[in-house]
Symmetry: C2
Subunit: 305 residues, 2 copies
């Protein structure tokens, strides 16, 4: 039995736009994607509306609510949705949504990102990940009381959840560091273009980071090159070694801020989550849950709130 | 009184070639430079000889010894001078020099770099910095017994010296991280092209790194962006804030491996050394000595050994 469309949920990040047609029970009826990410759109509100119409087409109906999250709500997005401040209940994100109006009665709710400020040096922001968190909590209710949700990626987020609220979070630039070091640094020069994942090299980097995080990340990175020059590491494995180093330093810095019995959950790309799940296991803190893209469920929860 | 030429010393790195004509007392009589760095030369030994003849010209005389250090001795240099292994007495570098012969009786001694291997995870290499160390120790004898020499730069080196020997060393990719993050990451997008150094922003980054190094570098970098978005940092100061973060994390990781009363010395570009001297002061470990390029003195000491 196929439900009737009740919500159009838009996961609208910097580099892509994903649209999910959902029914009244929160099930995804159909999904479409385009490369019209918010950072690629120039021309203001009209250009955003056109990008939405291109991907959604006949899905757009006068009475169908449209909710969007991600960079579409940034300063340079369709319309800015100012950050909600930690601690924040996920229902509050619903109330913080701003309205972007288009032609022919089109109305889009854009939900806010979340910022964290605490004391002298607390300073962090996210846009989109908070909706992934809302989606996971909506489907795995036991986690809402207390958990740490890890969203690995370009800018990995570690989100502290207590009683259905986001208390704090931290961003680790793991994915972007890997990309810029591979493409633009001396470390990348030795990296052969290998498409096979060398688990052993990844583990070597992971172990090195786990055993001596006090040495600091910038004091560990160069070992990627030195070990190749000294014959301890094969050049074609060095990218996976570097990945292990970076993920390992992220875990070594992030895990001590969690409680030893705090459940950990992963949300994101399956291959990347598998890598993190393996790393968490190696650090003695296996993940309690792993999920793919939970943005549609998050927007659905907010639209119902 | 001007001495007679007794040595032609070549500081031949990846991107530049610097030639120093020196007398028998170790004084520099004249200096020339070119952009014929070792990584820019293709065509093998002959091309290296031509680059040397272009910069040295009439300085080259049948009886004048020529000594070179740096990437000219790497696998892709004029001729490979295999790494000497820690612990290494600086006089041993002299014995490890290899000979590159050119036309018309030209002979060049190329000194080895140094590698450090220790236990499971010790792995580091340098080429050129060990000669800077030799040069400093030749001119500041009191440091030879015990000191830590810091060579800030693209790949900062922290070199542990005991009884005139290099015991160990560590590389921090601070300078290259700054460059790739500024030019290629999301952090650089907010950085205005400002030529003025904002000491206060640098200090903010430094303090953040000093107070909470346990958070890890990759967990601190994103604050450069978040603080701008949250109005805590001006975009045009964010490059200097990032510089402070990176230098601070280097110091926070490197200083605990030193003894509290171990003298620290800086060698390198004066502006960069001034920044590091300021940072060391903030960490309560002021530098005991600061020097510019000491490569010619180092090569002179080795040629005499």
């Amino acid at each position: 039995m196929v439900g009737k469309p009740a919500l159009l949920a838009l996961d609208w990040g910097s580099t892509s736009l994903r649209a999910f047609l959902m029914d009244g029970a929160g099930a995804v009826l159909a999904e479409r994607a385009s490369e019209d990410g918010a950072s690629r759109i120039t021309g203001g509100a009209e250009a955003f509306e056109q990008a939405l119409r291109r991907v959604a087409g006949e899905w757009l109906q006068p009475d169908l609510p449209v909710w969007a999250c991600g960079m579409v709500g940034s300063q340079h997005g369709w319309r800015e949705a100012p950050y909600a401040e930690c601690p924040v209940a996920l229902q509050e994100l619903s109330r913080g949504a701003v309205r972007a109006d288009g032609s022919e009665g089109l109305r889009v709710r854009i939900v806010p990102g979340v910022c964290w400020r605490s004391g002298q040096d607390g300073a962090d922001v996210m846009r989109g990940e908070e909706i992934q968190v809302a989606g996971l909590l909506a489907t795995q209710l036991s986690l809402a009381a207390r958990c740490r949700i890890v969203l690995p990626g370009t800018h990995s987020k570690w989100v502290e959840v207590r009683d259905g609220r986001i208390l704090s979070f931290r961003t680790f630039m793991t994915g972007e560091l890997f990309a810029v070091l591979k493409q633009h640094s001396v470390l990348g020069r030795l990296m052969a273009s290998s498409t096979t994942f060398h688990a052993e090299a990844f583990d070597e980097g992971l172990t090195r980071a786990r055993m001596a995080a006090g040495r600091g990340l910038s004091g560990d990175l160069f070992s990627t090159r030195a070990r190749v020059l000294l014959g301890q590491l094969q050049a074609e494995h060095s990218a996976d070694y570097l990945s292990g180093l970076l993920v390992g330093h992220e875990l070594a810095a992030a895990l001590p801020a969690t409680d030893a019995d705090e459940p950990l959950a992963l949300i994101g790309d399956p291959a990347l989550c598998a890598r993190y799940a393996h790393a968490l296991q190696a650090f003695g803190r296996p993940a309690a849950a792993v999920a793919g893209n939970t943005a549609p469920q998050g927007l659905w929860a907010l639209a119902c709130a």
